[in-house]
Amino acid sequence: MMRSRKWRTLDWTMMADREILELYRNTQTREQGFALLVRTYSTKIYWHVRRMVTDHDDANDVVQNCFLKAWKGLPQFKENSKLYTWLYRIATNEAITFIQDTYRRNTVAVESEEQAYMEDLSSDAWFDGDELQKQLQFAIDLLPDKQKQVFVMRYYDEMKYEEISEILETSVGALKASYHHAAKKIAAFMQERLNRA
C-alpha cells in the first residue's frame, strides 16, 4: 500500500531528528549532528524569522542566535516534541525579542515610521514586492507580537492550528481568535490605505 506524502514527510523528519540527536550525543560527531540540524531546518527557520523581522540581515542575526541557542540547549532537549517544533519556538522567541528591542530603540510616530519602513523596503535588495505587498508587510509589522506570530505562521508558513498550538503552547481556540484579530486589523489598514489613495 502506498503511503501518503504527509506520512513520508513525517517519517523522514523523525528519522532526521533521530540521526541528528544520535550524532549530537556522541562527542566525536557532535558537530556533524549540528551541521545536519542546520542543513535540515535552516531554510524553514530562516523564512519564518524573515517574515517576522522583514530585513535579511536582521533575519540572519536572529537565525544565527537561534541555532547557537539550539547548540547549547540540545543537551536539555526532551524528546516530547519534534526538533523542528522546538526550533520554531526558539526562533519565534528570538524574533520577538529582536522586534521588541528594535521597537524600544525606535519610538517614532506611525506616519514617519511607515515612510521610513517603505523606504527601507524599497532600497532592500532582497525584497521585490509591489506597493500592496509592502503595505501588507508594514501592516503585519504593526501587529502585536502574538497576532503577528499567528498570522505569519498561518498565512506564510501555511501551518495548521494544531502545529502552531504545539509551538506557541497556546490553545487552538485562542490562536483562531488571534488570527481573526490580526486579519481584521490588516484588512482595516489596507482599506484605509486604499481609501486614501
Binding site: R5, K6, E31, F34, A35, V38, R39, S42, T43, Y46, W47, R50, R51, T54, H56, N60, V63, Q64, F67, L68, W71, W126, F127, D128, G129, L132, Q133, L136, Q137, R154, Y155, Y156, E158, K160, Y179, H180, A183, K184, I186, A187, M190, Q191
Partner: protein
C-alpha cells in the same frame, strides 16, 4: 496540503482580505548560496565557542591548581614560622635564667607532675626513652663505652674455647657427667 490552502483562502475571504489570497507571497529573496554560507558560519562559531570553552576550562584548572599550591605554601610557611619562633622564644627565655632559677623551674615542673602523669608518659614513650637514654646521656662518653666493652671482652671471652669451659665455675666435671647421663637416656629411649 491543498485542503489547508483552501482553509486559509476561505479564512482570508471571510476576514475581508480576498486580495491577500491572490497576492504573491515570495517577495523576499536571499543572497546566492546564503544557506550554505549560513551553515559554514554557524559551524565556525560553534567551533570557536568550543575552543573558548576549552580554554576557559583549562584556565580554570590552572587557576585552581595555583590556588591550592598557594594555600599549601602559606600553611607550610606559617607553620614553620610559628614553630621556629616558639622554639626561639623558649631558648631566649631559658638563656636568661640563672642556674638556680632553672633548678627552681625544673623542681616546680616536676612537683606539678602526678604519678599518673609520669606513668602515662613513660608507657607512651617507653621505646623513645630507651633510645634517648642510650644516646643522649651525658655520663657515658665514647671512650668509656670502649673501655667497658674491652674489659667485658677480656673478662668473658677467651681465645681458647676449651679453657673457657674448664675455667667456667658453672660447667664443672660433675655437671658434665650429669649431662652425659641425660644424653644417654635420651638416645636409649
Amino acid at each position: 496540503m491543498p485542503d489547508l490552502r483552501k482553509d486559509i483562502s476561505d479564512e482570508l475571504k471571510q476576514e475581508g482580505l480576498p486580495e491577500l489570497e491572490k497576492l504573491e507571497r515570495d517577495t523576499m529573496s536571499v543572497p546566492a548560496s546564503y544557506f550554505a554560507a549560513l551553515e559554514t558560519g554557524l559551524l565556525q562559531r560553534v567551533a570557536e565557542e568550543r575552543k573558548g570553552k576549552d580554554k576557559v576550562i583549562r584556565m580554570r584548572v590552572i587557576r585552581t591548581v595555583f590556588a591550592i599550591a598557594a594555600v599549601f605554601s602559606l600553611v607550610f610557611a606559617g607553620t614553620r614560622l610559628l614553630r621556629s619562633s616558639t622554639t626561639a622564644d623558649a631558648n631566649v627565655q631559658l638563656a636568661a635564667l640563672s642556674d638556680a632559677e632553672l633548678d627552681a623551674v625544673i623542681d616546680e615542673r616536676l612537683a606539678a607532675l602526678s604519678f599518673d602523669d609520669m606513668h602515662t608518659y613513660l608507657t607512651d614513650n617507653i621505646y623513645d626513652l630507651e633510645t634517648a637514654a642510650l644516646f643522649s646521656t651525658d655520663y657515658i662518653d665514647d671512650e668509656m663505652i670502649d673501655e667497658k666493652m674491652q674489659s667485658d671482652v677480656k673478662e668473658h671471652i677467651s681465645s681458647d674455647p676449651e679453657e673457657t669451659v674448664v675455667q667456667s665455675p658453672v660447667l664443672e666435671d660433675e655437671v658434665f657427667d650429669d649431662m652425659e647421663i641425660e644424653s644417654n637416656d635420651i638416645d636409649g629411649y
